[in-house]
Amino acid sequence: MNARYGMVIDLDRCTGCGACMMACAAENNVPPIPQASTRTGVTPMLVRQVSNGMEGGARREVFIPILCMHCEHETPCVHVCPQQAVEVDQATGIVMQMPQRCLGCRYCMTACPYHARYFNWWDPAWPAGMEKSLNPGVAVRMRGVVEKCNMCHGRLHSAKEKAAAAGKREIDFADYVPACVEACPTAAIRFGNLADENDPAARETHSPDAFRLLARIGTEPKVYYKSKEAWVKELAESKSGRGPEVKHG
């Protein structure tokens, strides 16, 4: 029985604290490159701040965590990769990026409408001794390859191994929680198996407040968002292209 792992992110609950970004980077051994900028860094989980463009008391701002949407259908990056460094994992539905196979042509990055893919412009490096704090469950990527959210597959591996050692076939779902989901202080990110109708996350995807970014493109993302605020839902389909003004750091 194949799982379809996905997420529902409740934007009304997100306070933009950044814990998910930090936990993600720590879990996946993302290097803190001093030279990197907002456009050359590696942030598999990136929280973006968007406002409704109003001023004074009428102003609303919302924080939108952007990660790989794990598109189920016509997955743009999978189709373009010349050497099968990207695939939709059959068993889990996770869109999987293989840095060791990647030749760094970056075609997949131009293909992704969510800008959820990142190129390693620099050799990964840490201050002296800090490599001792690297997570042994995830291999460090080398310079010149593309990477993105792999849904903390390192944790999936340990869950599988634990199950196998206990003589079980299926993993205990409690053993597999991605870092960002675990880190969110407001439990705004719910993770689950969307193929399982009884899964709470799967049920939430049917809520009237649930939506997906650029759903009209037809790539069937497995990352859903949720908000009760109308203007936020409108952000999903970038109707005008010129959306509300974005906060610059």
């Binding site: 695939e87 994992d89 059959q90 068993a91 889990t92 996770i94 999987m96 293989m98 840095p99 060791q100 196979r101 469950g137 995830v138 291999a139 460090v140 792999n150 597959h153 390192g154 999936l156 591996h157 340990s158 599988k160 191994e161 634990k162 199950a163 196998a164 050692a165 206990a166 003589g167 076939r169």
Partner: protein, 194 residues
């Protein structure tokens, strides 16, 4: 014309010679293990019969790999013989509490994830299927390091042509894939890569 052919033939022969004989010697550098180790002796003398008597799984299912010095110390706390390797083991490593810097023939890179639990517990594969009969070996053979890739030669396997290899000789991704194909087990890249 014939003279041309002769020259060409000569060149061809020289190329073959270099490629098959000189090249492997140049590519691999030979390393000695820190001390001699005999699986055979351990099996016969100390009644250690199961691989996992020493190479066990931890409680979380993670394979512990080579036994820690502490495990050896269970018997080798003091010298158990007069061999010089025994002396090295006890004096150089066990007494000072140092781990023995074994050279691991089957070490895979960090980006490859392999679960002994899944293959041994669930799939019930015999150790020899991948590690050949090393368990009965009577010596710690030379470790050959690939100068370019930094891998142990065991990953590529001993025959340079990779033709007609004995089972357990060679641990490249292709070899994993063959076995998976034979057992009809589908795993994507995600299955074995970190």
């Amino acid at each position: 014309m014939s003279r041309n052919a002769l020259a060409a033939g000569l060149g061809f022969a020289v190329a073959l010679l270099c490629g098959w004989v000189a090249f492997p010697r140049a590519l691999y550098v030979q390393r000695q293990q820190p001390l001699e180790f005999r699986h055979k002796t351990h099996a016969e003398k100390s009644g250690i019969t199961q691989c996992n008597d020493c190479h066990a799984l931890r409680d979380d299912g993670v394979f512990a790999g080579l036994p820690a010095a502490a495990t050896c110390a269970a018997c080798h706390a003091e010298r158990m013989g007069t061999s010089k390797d025994e002396a090295i083991l006890v004096d150089k490593y066990i007494k000072p509490g140092q781990e023995t810097p074994w050279l691991v023939y089957s070490r895979q890179p960090a980006n490859a994830w392999f679960s002994h639990a899944i293959h041994v517990r669930r799939a019930a594969l015999a150790c020899a299927e991948c590690h050949a009969a090393y368990g009965e070996s009577d010596t710690a053979r030379i470790y050959e390091l690939n100068r370019i890739s930094g891998y142990s030669r065991d990953i590529w396997g001993h025959s340079m042509s990779r033709l007609g290899r004995a089972p357990g000789d060679g641990m490249k991704m292709g070899d994993c894939e063959d076995c998976h194909r034979r057992h009809k087990v589908e795993v994507g890249c995600l299955g074995c890569h970190e």
